[in-house]
């Protein structure tokens, strides 16, 4: 594995109790190291704390216990420089056109206006949104809006890209094509990618390593290495190894999913 880029040491998250209730142990302890330039995916049952884990790494939430480091520096409830996040929900700003949405994060940087324009043009072109640069999000399809969000993340040239089920709202065909896009961008930018997904095939197609999380409180119970070549695309699903990877993921995940659904007693 390449040099560590993100490390988690005994990371635990408990959410404070609401009035009269008990605190919720959502996650951990989790120990994990993600290499520089690695494509790492997490799969797990609903509500196991996948998104919480992503928000902890992004610095959007503080851990209750443990320590997170990005590029050797602690992430302590402060968004680290060089991190970009693509969320599952539509995060386009509806009052801004595509161009202004993409440029959003660059407006407060010290970059020259010419450099901002160059980066925005490049990101828009890279995501195939050139003709829609003056359009508003309401005029775009769900897939195109998600590409606007990806372009907005890329334009800041992050060294760590966190993807929180970014294709969850898209149809299967578009998901496969978007997966190709993400792989291409990953190769071009050299960034480390951390992907959260429900879809086992998506994780198996995209990632170098895939961690399986247990039902809540989420812990890493298995890590699968895919051994895919760096030059790959959605056609990797035809590879014989693909079925082996997804089978292993499902084998580990099945019991955890059943726990989540409260069906353990029935099946046994």
């Amino acid at each position: 594995m390449a040099a560590p880029h993100v490390t988690l040491h005994g990371v635990t998250k408990r959410f404070a109790a609401s009035a009269g209730g008990q605190s919720v142990h959502a996650l951990g302890p989790v120990d994990l190291t993600i290499g520089n330039g690695e494509f790492f995916a997490i799969v797990g049952p609903s509500g196991c704390g996948k998104s919480t884990l992503l928000e902890l790494i992004a610095g959007l939430l503080p851990p209750t216990e443990g320590r997170i480091e990005f590029e050797g520096r602690p992430v302590a409830q402060q968004i680290p420089d060089g991190v970009g996040v693509v969320f599952q929900e539509d995060a386009c700003f509806p009052w801004l056109n595509v161009r202004d949405n993409v440029a959003f994060g660059l407006r407060r940087t010290t970059l020259e206006p010419g450099e901002i324009a160059r980066r925005v043009d490049r990101a828009i072109a890279m995501m195939g949104l050139g003709e829609f640069a003056r359009g508003y999000p309401a005029q775009l399809s769900g897939g195109m809006r998600q590409r606007v969000c990806i372009a907005r993340t890329l334009v800041a040239e992050p060294r760590l890209i966190l993807l929180d089920e970014p294709f969850g709202a898209l149809d299967q065909q578009t998901r496969l094509l978007m997966g190709d896009e993400v792989l291409r961008l990953w190769r071009e930018t050299g960034a480390t990618v951390f992907l959260i997904t429900h879809a086992l095939d998506e994780a198996a197609m995209l990632a170098d390593r895939i961690a399986v999380m247990s039902a809540r409180p989420g812990k890493l119970i298995d890590v699968v290495e895919t051994h895919w070549p760096r030059e790959r695309d959605s056609r990797i699903v035809e590879h014989a190894q693909f079925g082996t990877v997804t089978s292993r993921l499902w084998k580990t995940l099945r019991d955890e999913s059943m726990k989540t659904m409260g069906r353990m007693a029935v099946s046994s």
Binding site: A91, N97, G105, Y136, Q139, L140, T174
Partner: protein, 294 residues
């Protein structure tokens, strides 16, 4: 239109980036508009609505004209609309009430600004303090049951007979509507937009200016309409009661002197000013909503 659909398919197919198969006509319109940044067309619908609106207003005016000319409404109660229109132009041309009109409008504008800007600031600040907001909620819920005009004598004792009490009433009537509407808008900001602002490392003030308040823009325009209406009601209404100047005072003075040639044109002027200002805000609101596909 077919050409646009074909181009979408060709572009996307060539790049292998996304699929737009079996594009419906409305989808084609949407994509075509997205390429130019144009808002959704609604001219045809608007034309019909505008036609109905003009017909209703014209019909009402014509009915009044007929009732006045037929003597059903006597001349002392109300002159016929054509007479009011002539008096209106005569009064405006004479310029004798321009200082009064200017003073009232300046006070309306001042009351509007003093209700609107602090109202948004207070609403934005309150949104971050749940306990304080919950504490004040009963006040907001019952505020409009308080007859603010009843405090007018007290305001005169406190601020004198100048413009202060009139402006204050306009502000007091409008500010809570602005606060409540701002809070309503802020409640609807999706959490993901706040997270996106955090990832862009925006501070609380910058998040408010660049994310949450722009998201609430349609609500803020609704708040502006309310604040403007209350500013008119507060200022003109106060001038009726105790002031010695202003449009409200002049209408009251004309009324007690049976001076219909002054009273009705001033009433029409207030109506026109209020409708035009609200119309401009409504138009702006429609543009913002159409950009959001609403």
């Amino acid at each position: 239109m077919e050409d646009v659909a074909r181009r979408i398919d060709e572009d996307d197919g060539a790049n292998g980036r996304f699929l737009v198969n079996s594009v419906k006509p409305d989808t084609i319109d949407r994509f075509a508009r997205a390429r130019t940044g144009a808002a959704a067309p609604s001219r045809r619908f608007l034309n019909r609505v505008t036609l109905y609106q003009v017909a209703i207003v014209s019909g009402f005016v014509l009915m009044l004209e007929a009732l006045c000319l037929a003597g059903v409404i006597d001349k002392i109660t109300m002159p016929p609309p054509h007479r009011i229109a002539l008096d209106f132009f005569k009064l405006m041309a004479s310029g004798k009430l321009w200082p009064e009109i200017g003073k009232s409008m300046a006070n309306v504008l001042l009351a509007f600004v003093l209700a609107y800007v602090p109202g948004i600031a207070i609403g934005t600040a309150l949104h971050g303090y749940r306990t304080l907001r919950d504490t004040l909620d009963p006040l907001f819920a019952t505020y409009y049951a308080i007859p603010v005009f009843a405090f007018y004598p007290l305001f005169i004792v406190m601020f004198g007979l100048g413009d202060g009490p009139q402006v204050l009433i306009g502000v007091l009537l409008g500010i809570v509507a602005v606060i409540v509407t701002t809070l309503n808008g802020l409640d609807r900001v999706p959490r993901v937009l706040r997270k996106t602002a955090a990832i862009a490392r925006l501070g609380p003030l910058e998040t408010a200016i660049r994310v949450t308040l722009p998201f609430c823009a349609p609500y803020l325009i609704s708040a502006a309409k309310l604040a403007l209406a209350y500013a008119f009601i507060g200022v003109i209404g106060s001038e009726f009661i105790m002031a010695r100047t202003g449009m409200g005072y002049e209408i009251g003075f004309a009324y007690t002197n049976f001076d219909n040639a002054t009273m009705y044109p001033l009433i029409v002027l207030i109506l026109l000013l209020s409708i035009v200002m609200n119309g401009i805000l409504s138009r702006w609101e429609k543009v913002l909503l159409s950009r959001r596909g609403l």
